[in-house]
Symmetry: D2
Subunit: 302 residues, 4 copies
């Protein structure tokens, strides 16, 4: 079944809030997200900052201990105006270089969804009118947090949240551990494009039209967000420092390979030893995000 | 000029050691490296562990404050026996998962340079005889360290050293800051293949035939190792934690873009904002390694 | 006014929960806390783990942007049974030492409040029946979290929470930033004694009789918890890694010295340069805690 | 036997340098150190920056695998001029506070060894002429580094070096692992006073008259520097981040308690659980320093 949902209120924490809609296991949801500052497709601010979330959606049958699968089917900018900050964040450069960073201005990008490009409009710099291809993604999405918490959309943890990983594009399925009845799925913070690490603290922030399908994996228990696309499976660790985010993601991948791909501990370790890949989600938010990947070609037949 | 050099002794620190050969600016060096345990192409141990280095080579004209460019022209395994450890290192998994790691055995790989593959020979596990493509690289190489230090080949810093980055393959040019007269170039620790992060503490360790060309960039001063290949320019930060390695690499890239690519501070920051890429060198050695990359296509015409 | 309050329910998050009692600015609260596992003075488990909090208490007049002052007047164990874990946590030792830690058993202590001692009852080890002086303190207390969040009692942030700092003993005044109307004060997780760092993950856990006075500092705005006793003023940073906790505490102290002690930036920096002291709160919880201290004698007359 | 040694050259790395003097096991050494900038008791610069070391002293009988005990008997400023920096280092405050730090000027202190005080002379600030008691200590000292390395006096590791710990005062015995024949003892970088963490990057830097006795503990093997005074035993971990320095120090203490104080693993863990103390050495140098302490009173009779 397909639900068309128009949000009227938003949340800046992922917690056990009253659901805005109940959907069935396997249903598809077509909705919209405002940008990180609460501004919609008409460029009107409809809710306060930051990273306001559409939802939560209650998925019938989801219980704590299950997993929620989210198929990201479409993530499409629904306006032309995008923005980002113009300076790398102080925590991403050497401490004695902070004073040499330029001011953190709001830079404007013209996003042309049909052409598939973003064009830097200003401020003026020697970079000129840079044109780059779109890679629309969701920066912050996930389920109600662990242990009855309500966690800010500024950060992330086991339940997802503000992971700001470039890989969360259409064509990806993301798995979240379920902590509350109905899972309570939230989504927001679209980026037309984002660099690795989200090092200026933003991607190209924009409102989105989104289409996702929500499925419950009953009795399937996971520790951290996982995902897959045609080529890769991946796990997501969210923590500070980056070392710990890497530990979470690596540990979760070792578990996954043993649970679902028929490997023993030795085999899982040997596979990662020479074949693992990592990608940096964000190194800006309170919790950093590291992604651990394995090529599906290495797992075929398992 | 091309020099063919057969090493007879090796070093396990990168420091101001007496040169084994003096070469001219622009000369090419054809030599060999033993594996991380000091074992050569005949599988004879010719020197103690670990990561023993061929060299140092004194490059005429290189003075402190210059940069040494190293063109990696050929890195070819010169024997069939490769090995790696079989367990992810305790510092790469969650602390409470350490007890669940398998024992760190020595696993054997059959390396077939002509076929371009490495095949896991043992120990037996449910992974079976995994076959993966070769990507031969150097794990530890660089110049004499800063400030008259002699730094262990177990670790890395501004002078390079044990960076264990998968990207140091043939076809890459690497730049090192020069700290001693003649730069004093060292090389060793070849890997037939390596995963991101070198998370078991080894790649597929093997002895190599290597061909490099050494060039002095007079008056060119850099802070951290840099590199480039046909598609990317990149900078290398070496430190713990990974957060600090990332800070070093990002700061060095901001400097490079402004020094050599005609960007002002604002332009350099805006370019990185949505276009930067990171790759994890190692997260095992005393200093971790993070690589910050920019697509050369974004810099064309500059 | 003095309120005697007997709790009947508890919270394991610090958030905008309905108050159990409204108290006036300057009122005193006499109440009890259960231990970290929800066990009360009769050794009956009355609520689930972990670190269940008594409260929240709504303090009349407290508004976001104010500061809540909490005078810790009495913290007294109200039973004889205390417990701790018997093994240093895996994240506090070298990763390759984790396998050598003993099992994390529950060790029992006999707490004699009148004698002022705790005696190790078991398990048996070569340490024998260690007897140490009591230093009763609160491990987890604070106000409703920032931004409408509900944050687990396992961790800490700007609002306080599970800081596990040995210095939170009777005779100390603690200051918290107010994020919700009424501040919403919570308290729990008493320790009869605790080592620096809470490195086994517990102090000597015990239920307590507590007496505190709550005062509103109108218009006084702070960034992180602060405190003082007869000899010291101190600031508290909560974050991971410890480096960042230290940055928060140090920055907050620089601000405090300039706001309230008549120092300019140069003077505040010079004072800390040779006179600052640090104490380690905890290095076990999700957020670590570092405390930055200045001797009041250095501030007399300011 | 007592040796009076007047240095004529200095080292800025701790490595296998030719000894300036050979002393017997148990001999006493009376010598001087220049300040961190190479300036002596007459305020003449006699050697380049930074942290130049007197030595190395070859101690007869010391072999790799032994321990060198250093009794710090006297550390006395030998001039009146001391200096420090006037700003907390950028890496010790929140990254977004860096721009608010004052400039890092050189501040002058008048050191009066007989009165036992240091008086801030300038620059002028609202702090005025602060007078504080002397606590003369050595910031950088130790033995030749591990594995044939020569390590900069800017940093520290297993061999000691630039630990900048306030506790290294007269009356303390410090133990170093021996890595080279004769141990090769170095000393320098005296501070008339220092705050915890050395957060401005200096103590009150000054030249010193020093008297130490050097003893070889044959066959005694340790992993990290250890120390003791009348009240405490302590271990020293040097690394970044502070979390890792803490892991090293804690692990070394667990080992020590089991090796020398008759405790089993369970007893050592239980003792630390409620009784451990930590002190912050430095959080400024490339490697940070954390100290793990146990009260000797708890060990009496063992």
């Amino acid at each position: 079944m397909e639900h068309h949902f128009t949000p009227t209120r938003y949340h800046t924490t992922l917690g056990p809030h009253p659901p805005v809609l109940r959907v069935g296991d396997g249903d598809t949801l077509v909705t919209t997200t405002v940008d990180a500052w609460g501004v919609d497709h008409r460029r009107e601010q409809v809710t306060p900052r930051s990273n306001p979330q559409t939802g939560p959606f209650y998925v019938e049958g989801a219980e704590p201990g299950d997993t929620l699968a989210v198929d990201l089917e479409e993530i499409r900018p629904n306006r032309a105006y995008g923005f980002c900050y113009s300076a790398v964040a102080p925590n991403v450069v050497d401490p004695d270089y902070v004073r040499q960073l330029p001011p953190a201005l709001v830079a404007e990008w013209r996003v042309e969804a049909k052409k598939g490009t973003a064009t830097l409009v200003g401020p003026e710099s020697k970079l000129g009118q840079l044109v780059i291809p779109l890679e629309p993604m969701l920066g912050c999405f996930g389920v109600a947090a662990k242990g009855g918490q309500a966690i800010s959309t500024a950060t992330s943890a086991e339940h997802g949240g503000n992971m700001d990983y470039r890989g969360f594009v259409a064509g990806t399925t993301v798995y979240f551990p379920v902590f509350e009845p109905g899972a309570l799925f939230f989504l927001g913070d679209g980026h037309a494009v984002q660099g690795d690490g989200e090092i200026v603290g933003t991607g190209i922030e924009i409102s989105m039209d989104v289409r996702v399908t929500l499925r419950v994996l009953k009795g399937k228990s996971i520790g951290w967000p996982r995902g897959e696309n045609d080529e890769w499976i991946f796990t997501v660790g969210n923590a500070r420092p980056l070392d710990q985010a890497t530990q979470h993601a690596t540990t979760e991948m070792l578990r996954w390979l043993q649970q679902d791909y028929g490997l023993d501990g030795l085999g899982a370790n040997l596979l990662l030893s020479q074949c693992v890949r990592y990608e940096l989600g964000n190194i800006f938010d309170p919790a950093y995000t590291m992604v651990c990947k394995v090529d599906k070609g290495l797992l075929s037949g398992r």
